[in-house]
Symmetry: C2
Subunit: 500 residues, 2 copies
């Protein structure tokens, strides 16, 4: 075989395209010419026996010498490439499972096998970003029925690793989100683990919010643990709080979330599948879901919440999970901080039973921890919340929290960003409404979550009496550019906190 | 202002990402650090007062020196950049019109203003490929109702240039496609122009097929004419046949088509909007639409065709076009060639009244030309087809065709690819079925349309008696790689031509 005819040698270009496989070839290279490859074609590239599909960018200038090819950082890492490696190229058949995505666009229902094929192809890197965007959009909104959500969830569970535990009962929790600062997880894990239940908690980073639980925890401990480390921590302490993406539970989810973030959407069916697939792959058996309801929360009405509750329960049952769903108040942020470090500070003040700890965060964490205890122990008198309160008040939850952090690599105090601006009330009165979405947006513009220390500190919850000139909230940012940008947005949206 | 702080100098990297604006910056550059820019962020970049939104790829290696930035070829051209130009950067507000796209995913109806904002943002380059894919998917299938299709069509008409003509009546035609080899346009334009009607025909290149009309014509004459040249040709010869993309009629369409091609879809609403917006922007008043119906054509049933007919007529009326719709036989390819050059050869043999010219292509061209004449002249006795036949048989259509080619820059004979393989019948019998889609796919795998000379020549239309070993069709290709690839596909799909 004319193997040399079809190969080039790799040079390290160090171009980071984020999670997209891109191959760079000279437009005048003999392979592009003989194979008819053009910019934006999808090409099968092989290095040392490992193949991926990559998008072609052609080079018309001198950054590649004849006989050389380059890869994006993500492709380079996927192929474990080294400088000088031989790389070969071939045409790629259109991805067959995209046919199902096209059917879905036309309103057809997809079955389990369809979802399995799609998800497997996505995990293998066979879908371009454009194709992933089409899949997400076709399944967005309420385009998936209950059977499709089950099919998607199962496909996502099966696409990656699964954890297994010696215990028959393994508990977990999830909050549907959209409520800034609602960082109950570290508190709940500490209480529940102290109560003797197994809670190997994996959390995600922010999709469209200023902080995910994993971002918040990262300000206090290491969350990038591998399977073995997790197992060790949980064996020792009953619980852990790690970033789900660092192990390969439901790896499809991490790829989908990246494109969902770019589109700023988080569809119903995909959300259910994303949440429950992670729980199932983590080996959970009993899961409590918290759905905050409020005008500016992710779920706005009780009807929407009821629908989600139904989905969570039915899909959970189909994949072998006992699911309990709580509806909670979503009318304002929980705690005072919005942004990873600021939320971590709220968490610590609750765990430390500090006098001015945010009561709402405390109450919510106790409610969820209590529900988990009740669900796991099938208790009829529902006194889980009382046990949870005792564990928290006694300081044992804090001790457990620190113990878990230490088992994960050590505890550190969260820090705040260097730039800070107070936003003042322009009149006196009572705070009657708080726009969660816009507050979250300000925290994002200020740099959260990519700067862990950036965000918003809310000083005046609902019903607070304020005088003109009082600070309503502070904005923290690591860069002046981002701070200015947040301020500019604030000017265009003056009534984020309504005073009457 | 610290203008220098926020600027870098451009170097030409010559990276072709196709139609996507990409900016390349060092990850360690002070702007990325101070502004918090990360790979895949969307950033507003400005060169000499002109701004575009670009996707950031960060560079971790030596291909960019400190103080330098690069652009993809498309961004370089959009900004008319030169080596050494200053480039500045700022955060970009999320594109507001994407909110409408998200609403659409949730099944909400979009109005005219929504579509105008979306299309304007797309034309300005404010949408990433991922966002365009989401828009296309949200509007795919039959997700758009008639009012939405009208809104989208109007937005697309208004997004670009418009042609205007002295004549009150300006005619045009369009074929919905999916039928390989159905290259009636050059013949129809020649006949209709010879009949004295104004027909400034713009055509598209292939989206998912092995040849678009513009690709086919390009094998015989120049189709990349600008506005002025078109006006000159039409003034002189009544008609022209040019590529629509070389002028800026409905420029949104060209951007959308590129992503549609990557997704291999061509949704109903977008198809109507694409077709009629081009016609309207070209200044047409009377349009005949040909819808071939067949099991393996784009439109498979009479019901689907009726729905499209309704849409074409209603949307046409709303934007001021008189539309006539013809249903034609879509059970097999028209003519014998599939691929630009091969289809051009069929066209020429009909125009030259050659003895073995494909009768089906001739009949179809006459039907359409006749319908255009009848529609334009409001003739009650519908004898347009007789006049069309006279013009063709007399050789005047051929003379007009050559005259138009000459006015467009000259006529040349189409050429065939250098590699050729005959595909033989594996048994004797009668040809009872031909799979258009798979034949088209073979032509594409063989290199059409990017190699104008590649494709498939069908030798045995429906009902042909064949003996075992007879050639059913030939495959033409410029490269052995592509020829092999087509042959491999053929092995997996042996019954493309059914013999019984």
């Amino acid at each position: 075989m004319a193997s040399n005819f079809n190969t080039l040698n790799l040079v390290h270009l160090g171009i980071d395209t984020q999670m997209e496989h891109v191959v760079f070839m000279r437009r005048d290279c003999h392979i592009c010419i003989s194979e008819g490859f053009e910019a934006h074609n999808r090409i099968l590239v092989t290095v040392k026996g490992k193949s991926i599909i990559a998008t072609l960018n052609t080079i018309t200038d001198g950054i590649l010498k004849p006989g050389k090819a380059g890869l994006s950082k993500y492709a380079w890492e996927s192929l474990r490439a080294k400088e000088g490696d031989e790389i070969s190229f071939s045409h790629v058949q259109p991805v067959v499972s995209m046919g199902s995505v096209r059917s879905k666009m036309y309103g057809k229902k997809l079955n389990k096998v369809d979802f399995e094929n799609i998800i497997n192809d996505i995990v293998k890197g066979h879908y371009s970003n454009i194709e992933i965007a089409a899949f997400i959009t076709a399944c967005a909104g309420d385009n998936l029925d209950i059977h499709e959500i089950i099919g998607l969830t199962e496909a996502m569970v099966n696409s990656g690793q699964k954890l297994s535990w010696d215990s028959k009962i393994v508990v977990d929790k999830h909050c549907v989100g959209g409520l800034p600062g609602n960082r109950t997880t570290p508190i709940v894990v500490a209480i529940v683990a102290e109560a003797g239940l197994i809670i190997p908690k994996t959390s995600s980073r922010a999709i469209t919010s200023p902080a995910g639980t994993a971002d918040t925890l990262e300000t206090m401990t290491d969350v990038n643990l591998d399977m073995k480390q997790i197992q060790k921590v949980v064996e020792k302490e009953n619980g852990c709080f790690v970033w789900g993406g660092s192990i390969k539970l439901s790896p499809a989810d991490d790829i989908l979330i990246r494109v969902e973030r770019a589109l700023d959407i988080d569809g119903e069916g995909q959300m259910i599948a994303s949440v429950l697939s992670k729980k199932s792959a983590a080996g959970s058996t009993h899961v409590v879901i918290d759905i905050p309801i409020g005008k500016t929360a992710k779920v706005r009405t009780e009807e929407d919440a009821e629908k989600l509750k139904y989905y969570f329960k039915v899909v959970g049952k189909a994949i072998g999970l006992k699911v309990e769903v709580l509806f909670t108040d979503g009318s304002q942020p929980v705690g005072r901080g919005i942004g990873p470090s600021l939320e971590a500070m709220d968490v610590l003040s609750v765990l430390r039973n500090e006098k001015n700890a945010p009561q709402d965060l405390r109450d919510r964490a106790l409610l969820i921890a209590g529900s988990i205890i009740d669900l796991a122990e099938k208790s009829k008198n529902k006194n889980g919340i009382i046990r949870a309160e005792q564990i928290l008040s006694s300081g044992k939850a804090y001790e457990k929290f620190i113990a878990i952090c230490k088992a994960q690599g050590g505890f550190r105090e969260p820090k705040l960003a260097i730039h800070k601006i107070d936003i003042q009330a322009h009149k006196s009165g009572v705070v009657t409404e708080i726009d969660n979405r816009r507050l979250a947006k300000i925290a994002k513009l200020a740099g959260a979550p990519h700067d862990l220390t950036a965000g918003v500190l809310l000083l005046t919850p609902l019903k607070t009496k304020v005088n003109k000139g009082d600070a309503l909230f502070c904005i923290y940012s690591e860069t002046k550019g981002e701070l200015n940008y947040a301020m500019e947005y604030l000017k265009s949206e003056p009534d984020i906190i309504l005073i009457q």
